[in-house]
Amino acid sequence: MPKQPNTAVLQIAGKTSGALIELDHVTKQYPNQPVAAVQDFSMTVQPGELIMFVGPSGCGKTTTMKIINRNTAPTSGSISIDGRDVLSLNPSELRRHIGYVIQQIGLFPHMTIAENIGVVPKLLNWSKEKTNDRVHELLTTVGLEPGDFAHRYPKQLSGGQQQRVGVARALAADPPVMLMDEPFGATDPITREKLQAEFLRLQASIGKTIIFVTHDFDEAVRLGDRIAVLSNRSQIEQFDTPANILTNPANEYVSSFIGLGTAIKRLVLIPVTEARLGPASAAAGGTTTIRTTDSLRDALDALVLTGLPALAVLDEQNRAVGSISVDQISAVLGTEVPVLAPTAEV
């Protein structure tokens, strides 16, 4: 193996938070297939950005992602990470510096949780001590008590716990880039929402460059800095911030993909404080409260769930600063919130 790519890998590895990714006219044509899986795909991802690839299944979004860590070889085009041509690097060494999480997790069943997380550090010849420390640190980060979990085997964990280990394992060597393929897709809605929230918090502190593939537009809106809406052959229909896509869908395809309830989806992006709150006294007797850091979507969910006309809004010191009702949420959107019927009847 030539020396040149080796140092290039190390240069990528030297960074831990965020690298610039550039895909330039990337095409993937499988043999014996009439159309390309990915056609002429170009994109620049800024360091520390969380990019969501959204599209229907079979549109080529996963293939596009896999080209970045050379799990799939492109037919033509070039990919670079921090200016280094990925195709000239040793694929195995490259992958050790790109975190990789897939929906089915793929934990190694014959290894303990600690051993699973320690795989890449071991490949990189870290000392035992350094690896152990890192494993403990990561388990704590993803909310699993190291003393309790380190020596368990994957099958002894729940799906949500396994997924956390999957994320911890991908983060093990502190890679500057993470590729995530529907990482939360196989979990139940409640676990998924929890994992998403934890993941956002984590990303805020680690600032990796992340490519995140999903078919769930709500997830894309909730997590992404920017969203690429993809159609067949991985064609980019729109690549913009969630807010811009929701307010200004580029074409019919994007609108139909966003689907009904665009307004509701936008609520995720708007903090409660944007609404003109009612008097605190309006939230009579309800034990459910909303925080000023919550989004309007959270508020609406809570209102629908409790069936109350209004909920108290608390600030960080737990002081009631006002109340929120469906009318006030509608007012922010400038349109009637469409799923109100059940609430109104209660």
């Binding site: 799990n71 490259l94 050790r96 990789y100 089915q104 997790i105 014959h110 490949l123 099958k155």
Partner: protein, 262 residues
């Protein structure tokens, strides 16, 4: 002689929890050796109660029996070792190939091979080549090659594609994936194949007597020819006990060597 196929063995392999020690060395584990011991003691007592004629006492004595047991075990162990050394690497290579033609040929040969009677293989070899130990050894190897080969291939194939994908995705090289992930995960299935092959070998080594390759089959055949049932029964019981004990050792090894967590 054909034994249950690898797939039927896998399908019913009991799921064992990760906790071991007590699991592996439970009282159940010692049923087989205990039964074998009882059978051997009964055989000894029965033989002691008989007054053996000259033909019988020529074969039913410690030296003769030990020599036959040694031949039998020698044939079995050497053949199984050869099979392991040849069939496992072949299985790994074959599972690496993408060629459908090669896989189809292997599958076809495996099916015909499974349908071929061991006694036919041994006797044909003796006719076209020679009689004796070497022929028996070759026959045993040919005959018990398939279960190990097939289980190696199945063991590697049954590994969750996602596990393989994440191993490559994490930057393991082809060899690292093979030795750190695939082979450890295939161990239980490969061992099941080796176990089947060992039991095969004990059985086929019995008919090695037909081509003058020794073993305990000698006692069975002589007892039958000379109408000396004590000789026949001694040989048959010893072979049965060896088969049971070897199967027991292999089963125990399977449990001890099974990676934790699966």
């Amino acid at each position: 002689m054909v034994f249950p196929t690898a797939t039927t063995l896998i399908a019913t392999a009991p799921q064992r929890p990760a906790g071991r020690g007590a699991e592996i060395w439970s009282p159940k584990r010692f049923v087989t050796p205990a039964v074998v011991l009882v059978v051997l003691v009964s055989l000894f007592l029965w033989l002691s109660s008989l007054s053996l004629d000259s033909i019988e006492s020529r074969t039913i004595n410690v030296d003769y029996v030990i020599a036959r047991v040694r031949e039998h075990l020698g044939l079995t162990v050497v053949a199984s070792a050869l099979v392991a050394a040849l069939a496992i690497p072949t299985g790994i290579l074959l599972s690496r190939t993408r060629s459908r033609v090669i896989k189809g040929i292997v599958l076809g040969v495996a099916n015909v091979g499974q349908a071929t009677p061991a006694v036919g293989v041994i006797i044909l070899l003796a006719i076209v080549w020679q009689t004796g130990y070497l022929t028996a050894l070759v026959g045993l190897v040919i005959y018990s090659f398939l279960p190990v080969l097939r289980n190696t291939m199945i063991g590697l194939q049954q590994i969750d594609e996602n596990v393989r994908e994440s191993a490559f995705g994490m930057g393991m090289t082809q060899n690292q994936v093979l030795f750190r992930i695939e082979l450890p995960l295939a161990v239980p299935v490969i061992l099941a194949g080796l176990r089947t092959s060992l039991v095969f070998c004990v059985g086929v080594a019995t008919i090695a007597t037909f081509i003058n390759a020794g073993g305990l089959g000698d006692m069975i055949v002589n007892g039958l020819k000379l109408q000396r049932y004590p000789v026949l029964v001694t040989g048959a019981v010893l072979v049965a006990c060896i088969a049971l004990l070897i199967d027991w050792v292999a089963a125990t090894a399977e449990d001890v060597l099974r990676p934790r967590g699966i």
